[in-house]
Amino acid sequence: MTTSKLGKYLSGLGLLGLVIFLCVIPFYSTDYIVSVLLDILTWIGLTQSWIILSGFTGYISLGHSAFFGIGAYVMAILWLKLPYPLIILISAMSSMTLAFAIGFPVLRVRGPYFVILTLGLSEFAKYIFINYEVNVKGTVGRILLGVPNIRTLYFSLLIIAIVTILCAYLIKRSRFGYGLFSIKEDEDAAESLGIDTSIYKWLALGISAFFPGAIGATMALRRTYIDPYSVFDPIVSFQIIVMAFFGGIGKLHGPVLGACILTLISEFFWARYPHYYLIILGVILVFIVKIMPSGILGIFDLFGKAGKVVKFVRRK
């Protein structure tokens, strides 16, 4: 048992080292590098919070950009009226509250019907905001002046991303996590073993909506101008899923890696070939899916599985 304890200790140290490394980077790199890190942290936060609902319970959500949008709008409404970390918290709370409000009826629907229902809900939210802005406010967008500088935004996003990962990590190892995973495997069997599946799904949806609210609020400051079309963009919901599956939703660090690698690859080609980078990315994605069907972590799984079978056969 000692080797795995040592292993745990080492990876714990490594993790701490990584966090310190992330805290120090912004002071030694150009604003551009910090903005790339900002992108990565945004996607890590969004995919990791998406995993809490869709990765754990199997209810694939195609509407997470709605939570992002609500966070952005709450920030825009409260900007300069309250200290900005408090607004981020309020934005996160409001997007969670909305998730709780619609949670029950929506989570009764299952399978692809749930997937497309969430897409419909996020489009519905977008047009509600558009009509509210147009008819009541008389404008379509809002400006946020005097926004904090990029490094402050970087650190708030770093905190949000770390809290998201920690939250997902704790849930996964907790009783709540076991409940969610049983729902994913077989909801009726889970129900018959004493799991109140509707409450568990409902809680997972709420928690999963909390973090995109916070990220939306922070990124609203980054954009300084937000309008419903850009913050409720359905393509963001698709990109979240692509990153999560790309990283492999089985393991916790799958989406973290998926977000890092996919953002960096697209950044690299985006900077080199402004006209062709999307075609190159599309082709790379097709190749990667063909070679590693279960996502980037597929390579680790292959080694991992081989190890387990050998252990089992040896004991026999």
Binding site: F21, V36, T139, T224, Y225, Y229, E267
Partner: protein
Amino acid sequence: MMKKFLLLVIGVFLIIFCLNGGALAKDNIRIGFSMALTGPFAPAAKGQMDAYLLWEELVNKNGGILVKEFGRRLPVKLVYYDDKSEAETAVKVYEKLITDDKVDLLFAPNSTTIHFAVFPIAEKYKAPIVGNTAASVKLRDLKSKYFWFVTATMADRQMRALVDLLISLKVKTVAVVNIQDIFPRENLEFLIPYLKGGGFEIVLQKDYPRGIRDMVTVLSEAKGKNPDAFIALSTPPDTFLTAAQIQEVGFNPKFFFQLIGAAAVAFGPRLGAATEGISTFGHWSPKAPWPGAKAFLDNYVAKFKVIPDYLNSTLAYVSCQIIEQAVERAGTLNWEKLSEVIAKEEFPTINGPIRFTGSENLQTPAMVLQWQKGEIEIIWPSEVATAKPLYPKPPWPKK
């Protein structure tokens, strides 16, 4: 498993540092900007991009820009990235241009949204940016020494010009439709009070969402009201749809105004003779008496085989001319000095002389244009008009 993960993540972060480019010796002027090559703004951005490319070619043809500081003409090189019509990507682009590529000068991005997002960059790095394809009254609140915008068609001035024209044409009843988008909605905000102030009767007022696929129901309702003037505060996709379906419904208003898109490249060929009498907004025409206006049209057509967008292409080209002359007058690429020159001086451009008051161009009047015999003429205000307003608009040609 965790150890493998940590190794890979640290390795991944090291790749980042290979992203930044190296610095270059001073043998050209590198001008950086972000452009919507993909995403919803891409169609409108094309006219602006081509204007930049045309300007680069023409400037380099006569040796580049004379910079006294280096004692010779320096050729220009455009450095640009795709901002995917996203505000945060555009912000990242300008941070990359300034802190990573370390470009000498900056040009403006496309669309009002992105201008707003990029404004704090100009402020933070004290980098002068002459905005072009942005038009919102809120731009005036951006008090900055490093950010200007060339467009004269602010919603209030534009709608004032339109209503004054309607008064002069003795129009009585008006129908208004608008798309739920930034600039059109802002124009509506000023149009309605001006119309009420001018004693007009608004017989119909409706808005519609982006991506609308059918205008027939609204247009036949408007036809039922039989207004003298029909004002559609629209954007390119719905401008084309309305122009087609208004003929289907057989609605023949005496005055027909479409906001954005009626001066677009594809509008003329798409409607052919039906364009006769359709008016739109703008502030340029090749027939205007400004130096280089006709030459700009000819050079553009020679290079791209299509006429320029009377709005985006001209605004973009004007902003390039201003920066070019500012560099020559200031004799240096130093941002501080350039900002002073841009803020104070008057610059002759293909859109007439422009001098900024604050960050706005109040010199160029907001105008109303109209299609007459296949050409776009300026019909209002009368002092710069290149043709008399055609009122009432001839009915749609029979198919």
